[in-house]
């Protein structure tokens, strides 16, 4: 339950941040971070291209007087989920329902712009209106920001098929068989 409230707050804070960007002239607060490498890989990304993810973080912003912060929440550069320190109190119905378009923000590899959807006073959706897509390495960014794909452990199936697609054909087996035949054929 705690986790749920925490994640709700993360989303709500992000939405709040987006809304505050609308009314403020503050500059880019998006942080470009390197993605989390999976524990059993050391360096899976090519050296001369940049794999980055754009992750909304809890920013340092001017908060409206009705919601006095009691901390200076610093943007965290490490690749862990945003950590909230002493969150300001959450009020139901803090936001007005509607859709709010954030600023177009320079994320170095291109611009990012999001739209926040508020329903019943809460952030219900975040929509990407713009994201870096016109440079080679930006494709890697988009891939991190886009949908989560299904995964499974591979499992052997019974081989009732017409044929098999593989990285090569069965030429490994073919060559072995041919080699053994030729070995017998050797005078």
């Amino acid at each position: 339950m705690k986790k749920f409230i925490l994640s709700l707050f993360v989303l709500a804070s992000f939405g709040f941040y987006v809304i505050s960007q609308n009314s403020s002239n503050s500059s880019n607060n998006f942080i470009v971070q390197t993605p989390i490498d999976s524990p059993n890989n050391t360096n899976t990304t090519p050296k001369n291209s940049k794999s980055v993810a754009i992750i909304p973080t809890i920013p340092v912003v001017k908060k409206p007087p009705s919601n006095p912060p009691n901390d200076s929440n610093q943007n965290n550069q490490s690749p862990t989920p945003p950590v909230i320190i002493s969150p300001p109190p959450k009020k139901v119905g803090l936001y007005n329902d509607g859709t709010y378009v954030g600023n177009s923000v320079d994320a170095y590899y291109g611009n990012v712009q999001v739209k926040a959807v508020i329903s019943n006073g809460k952030l219900s959706d975040i929509v990407f209106l713009d994201y870096p897509r016109d440079r080679g390495h930006s494709i890697q960014i988009n891939n991190y920001a886009l949908p989560i794909l299904k995964q499974e452990a591979i499992q052997s199936q019974s081989a009732n098929v017409n044929t098999v697609s593989g990285a090569t054909d069965s030429s490994g087996a073919f060559m072995d068989s041919l080699a053994s035949a030729l070995a017998q054929a050797k005078a």
Partner: protein, 238 residues
């Protein structure tokens, strides 16, 4: 490379087999970098100027350039040593041409396979879509998935069979290690093959690039035996 053909149509004229096999022989003679006197080897030795190239060679190079642009350089037939190896696109392209020969002769239910890439048209002898397995990269005599394919192309890029013969053109010295196999299903085997090659070079990101392309589905297997697949892939499962 082994060429495999199966025809389910009732009336088969045996001449079609010779036609198809001769076609592939011709392709091999022209495009094989392992043949000293192939057109591509002559080009790589700079013995042919571009206006001396045959029309098929020009066509393949044109398609390769187009694919390079569409994949932001992840598909590139020019290798680190400066020589050209168009095999990542020729295979699918040639299989599709071969399938067109079949269709011209009136065949409707058949598949053509070369080097693990397949163009499957119509239905098999049991009047079902062609049943195509995905090879287990860790145990090549096993399959890990069964696909139901009708009028589609299937191509697999991988590194298990002959060592790491695919690399990232953007960083040639770095071998692709995080994924071992990527199978692509496309509207035809030419599309499936070129994107299988390009997306495999992208490593783990390739499946996400594939997800963004309409009409193409994929099944990627990483070095831990975990598969990731695109959102429309499951419609091809039996």
């Amino acid at each position: 490379m082994i060429i495999k053909i199966e025809i389910a149509d009732k009336n088969i004229d045996e001449k079609i087999f010779d036609k198809i096999f001769s076609y592939f022989e011709k392709i091999d003679k022209r495009f094989s970098v392992y043949k000293e006197n192939s057109e591509i080897s002559k080009i790589n030795r700079e013995e042919l100027s571009e206006n001396e190239w045959g029309s098929e060679m020009k066509e393949v190079f044109g398609l390769a350039e187009k694919t390079k642009k569409e994949t932001n350089g992840f598909f590139d037939i020019r290798k680190p040593d400066g020589k050209y190896d168009p095999s990542g696109i020729v295979k699918g392209w040639a299989i599709r041409q071969a399938a067109n020969i079949f269709k011209k002769e009136g065949y409707k239910n058949f598949y053509v396979e070369a080097g693990g890439d397949i163009e499957a048209c119509g239905r098999n002898h049991k009047d079902k879509p062609w049943q195509i397995g995905i090879r287990n990269p860790f145990k090549t005599n096993e399959i890990v998935k069964k696909l139901s394919i009708k009028n589609r192309g299937v191509a697999t890029s991988g590194i298990y069979a002959r060592g790491e013969h695919i690399y990232n053109p953007k960083n040639p010295s770095e071998k692709i290690k995080d994924i071992v196999s990527l199978t692509v299903i496309g509207p035809n085997v030419y599309e499936a093959d070129r994107f299988a090659t390009a997306c495999f070079a992208m490593g783990k990101n390739g499946i996400y690039f594939l997800e963004s392309l309409p009409g193409l589905e994929g099944y990627m297997i990483d070095q831990n035996g975990i598969a990731t697949f695109t959102s429309g892939f499951e419609k091809y499962l039996i």
